[in-house]
């Protein structure tokens, strides 16, 4: 046995111990793949962890309107099984758009929490229940404590929790830099749509940034927005390796 393999077994053993101490059992292993190897291989386990909390925010003006972020979350929720709870922040979510992202009206339970404290409490309750496919809330302020509670609730029951971060002002969007206990953190910014041979607007495209990923590296991708089944896709002209790295990074505050 060479030294390197001995070290790797030792490290593997240590990792196993850490995992056991952290208390994540088999539930952590369940993932929801995007179906795009480019993205899935960046995520530990080969997909978005079920039974975990994920954060999504919009970039640029999306930080305020949260339109693309909501659709991205809807696409993820659409690919889960069971009912989906959506904690609405401001009354401007348009359900037909969610249906076009794969989240059919019969599957979604909408809730108006009134204030964010209630929204967080209700989200925690929904995650802990375990019967839902996904629970989504639109929140502007998320503290470490609150997110840790949510993450623990999601872990115990195995429901995926999605938080769509949405702020009133661009300046508040800097809050997105604060650490939370969410497993992944995404930023979705809109890009000019897919070019068409005729005048018109093609399929929407997003600049998808994986800003933070527990046990993984951050990355960014250019993707096409959710189709009617909630799947995102790589644009055909970029499918052979996205030119993400060269383009320089965008920030939430442009």
């Amino acid at each position: 046995m060479s030294i390197t393999s001995a070290t790797s077994t030792a490290i593997g053993g240590l990792r196993e111990r850490i995992r056991r101490i952290e208390g994540h059992g088999s539930l952590r292993k369940a993932v929801l793949p995007f179906g795009i190897s480019e993205i899935d291989r960046r995520l530990p386990g080969g997909g978005l962890a079920l039974g975990a909390l994920h954060e999504v925010a919009g970039g640029g003006n999306g930080a305020i309107d949260g339109a693309a972020a909501a659709l991205f979350a809807a696409g993820i929720a659409a690919r889960t099984k069971g009912q989906v709870l959506w904690c609405v922040g401001r009354p401007d979510l348009f359900a037909p758009a969610l249906a076009q992202a794969g989240l059919k009206p019969g599957r979604v339970i909408y809730m108006e929490a009134g204030d964010e404290k209630t929204a967080l409490a209700c989200l925690e309750e929904s995650l802990r229940h375990g019967g839902l496919g996904a629970a989504i809330a639109e929140i502007s302020k998320l503290t470490m404590t609150a997110s840790r509670r949510l993450q623990l609730a999601a872990e115990t029951a195995g429901t995926i929790g999605l938080i769509v971060r949405r702020w009133r002002r661009q300046t508040e969007a800097a809050d997105f830099g604060q650490p939370t206990a969410a497993v992944t953190r995404w930023r979705v910014s809109v890009l000019p749509s897919a070019p068409l041979p005729v005048p018109g607007v093609g399929r929407a495209r997003w600049h998808l940034e994986l800003l933070r990923c527990r046990a993984g590296d951050s990355a960014d991708f250019y993707v096409e927005a959710c189709d009617a089944k909630g799947r995102i896709a790589l644009p055909a002209d970029l499918a052979d390796g996205s030119g993400a790295a060269e383009d320089g990074r965008r920030s939430a505050v442009r």
């Binding site: 348009f94 359900a95 607007v201």
Partner: protein, 487 residues
């Protein structure tokens, strides 16, 4: 009276005996318009109004009907409701108004339901029973909500009769020159009481809220209820939780005997200082599960203020519905969808039943009308919105006017300014023409909206429309509006 009832336009009075005279006790709108009022002798009324329908008053039947109405209100609005004879019901809305979308919404809902079943009612909400009683009868048109602390002020302007004084005493006071409640409040109390007795002082104190009035709630005979009396008043949340558990277990046993499940549970905590703290929880389906019901009630313990201690706890199933055991067939192929009704109950009790809902498609091309809220339990429709055009993820509650520049009147704009930011349009799609729904409102007969999907240079996509078809001014103002934001 069913079909035999006279039409609403026919003047109608109820007569009864007052001493040895037959007098009018109550008159409807038409009769009042003809100049009749309570106290008019029956013979005089008959002579004054031709075609008057006269019926004998049946106070006992009326009282019974009022009691039934109170029970109905108890089931639907609040755990503490009482009949307030001869013509009212009193509802303690403390801590339940938010479940109905606020005080005003609750009151409107109540009046709406009543008028739907043929009752002409007025309603008032105030700090005290006395004030609400007076305002409902003398100031509500047809409803009024006084914000906290304003009741006394509002009531002071009302006539003396609003104080619920005996008729002779009111007449005597009027003769002495007192007209409004304010006149009485301004007077030194001692001589007044010396002259009129303690009743007057009590009524005044009740009006100002110095003395609390107990509402003796109605007890429908079929109400299933359990009670726990404490030798020593309790106050700690843990103790309350413990006894809630015991009461729920007892109640569920009783429900089981009747094959019922609770749809609405009321927990009443009678405090040593004669106040009652109430908690009301509802469920979407009949439930008899001890654990689930206990959970719903214990969630609300923090809203109970035990004060100096609770001496009696009563748990009642205000609405109970048949719940038969059901056999579930297991299926090999289809995985049963997880039951989320327990979660929905918890959430609905936290935020209010109306704020948790499903959205359903409506066959309408007008975007803001294409979505309808339905109750969670409503049968799921398989309908979906038409998928011809992409829809924006965010639809502004009110379309916002934008400044635009278009090459031709019926072209999409080449640039537009929204919220002070000017955007150059690089791609457009449309128009999608939406016609007004003339069957809903007359002005919509010719109205037209042309929707365009536009994308600016940075890739942000918006849903804008022009009010009008670009040619005919009758179809709209031809101004441009931004209605939605695509993701």
């Amino acid at each position: 009276m069913g079909d035999a009832a006279p039409s609403a336009e026919t003047p109608l009075v109820l007569v009864g005996r007052e001493g040895r005279r037959r007098v009018v006790l109550a008159a409807d709108h038409a009769a009042k318009a003809a100049g009749l009022h309570a106290g008019t002798p029956a013979t005089k009324a008959q002579a004054l109004v031709p075609g008057l329908v006269i019926l004998d008053a049946e106070p006992a039947v009326d009282a019974e009907a009022l009691e039934r109405l109170a029970v109905w209100a108890l089931k639907h609005y609040s755990p503490i409701v009482a009949a307030d004879p001869p013509d009212g019901i009193v509802i303690d809305a403390t801590g339940v108004a938010h479940l109905h979308g606020g005080e005003e919404a609750m009151q409107n809902h109540l009046l709406h339901r009543l008028s739907g079943s043929g009752f002409l009612a007025t309603a008032a909400m105030a700090d005290t029973w006395s004030a609400a009683h007076a305002l409902a009868r003398y100031a509500a048109r047809p409803s009024i909500v006084m914000s906290a602390g304003k009741s006394v002020e509002a009531m002071a302007q009302l006539p003396l009769a609003s104080l619920r004084l005996p008729a002779e005493m009111a007449a005597e006071l009027r003769r002495l020159g007192f007209k409004s409640v304010q006149d009485l409040l301004d007077q030194p109390r001692a001589p007044l009481i010396l002259r009129f007795g303690p009743e007057l002082g009590r009524r005044l104190d009740q009006a100002t809220g110095t003395v609390r009035e107990l509402i003796e709630r109605v007890q429908p005979p079929e109400l299933i209820e359990t009670k726990q009396v404490f030798a020593e008043p309790i106050g700690a949340p843990e103790t309350i939780a413990k006894y809630v558990g015991k009461l729920v277990a007892k109640l569920c046993q009783e429900l089981e005997e009747h094959a019922l499940g609770a749809r609405r549970l009321d927990l009443l905590c009678h405090r040593v200082d004669n106040r009652t703290e109430v908690v009301r929880v509802g469920t979407a389906t009949p439930v008899r599960d001890v654990k689930r019901l206990t959970r719903l009630l214990t969630d609300k313990i923090e809203t109970i203020d035990p004060g100096f201690g609770i001496e009696i706890m009563t748990l009642a199933a205000a609405i109970a519905e048949p719940l038969e055991p059901k056999q579930r067939v297991s299926s090999l192929v289809q995985e049963a969808e997880a039951d989320v009704s327990s979660l929905v109950d918890v959430l609905a009790n936290r935020v209010g039943e109306r704020r948790i809902y499903r959205l359903e498609p409506v066959a309408s091309d007008v975007p803001e009308r294409s979505v309808k809220r339905v109750a969670l339990l409503a049968p799921k429709s398989e309908n979906d919105w038409p998928d011809h055009w992409p829809r924006p993820a965010r639809l502004l509650p009110h379309p916002e006017q934008i400044e635009t520049m278009a090459l031709l009147p019926d072209h999409p704009p080449v640039w537009f300014t929204w919220r002070g930011v000017r955007r150059r349009v690089s791609r457009t799609d449309g128009p999608e023409r939406v016609y007004g729904e003339w069957w809903k409102a007359d002005p919509e007969l010719e109205a037209v909206r042309d929707y365009f999907q536009v994308e600016d240079e940075s890739g942000e996509r918006y849903w804008i429309y022009r009010a009008g078809d670009g040619e005919d001014p009758a179809t709209g103002s031809h101004k441009w509006f931004l209605h939605g934001i695509y993701g």
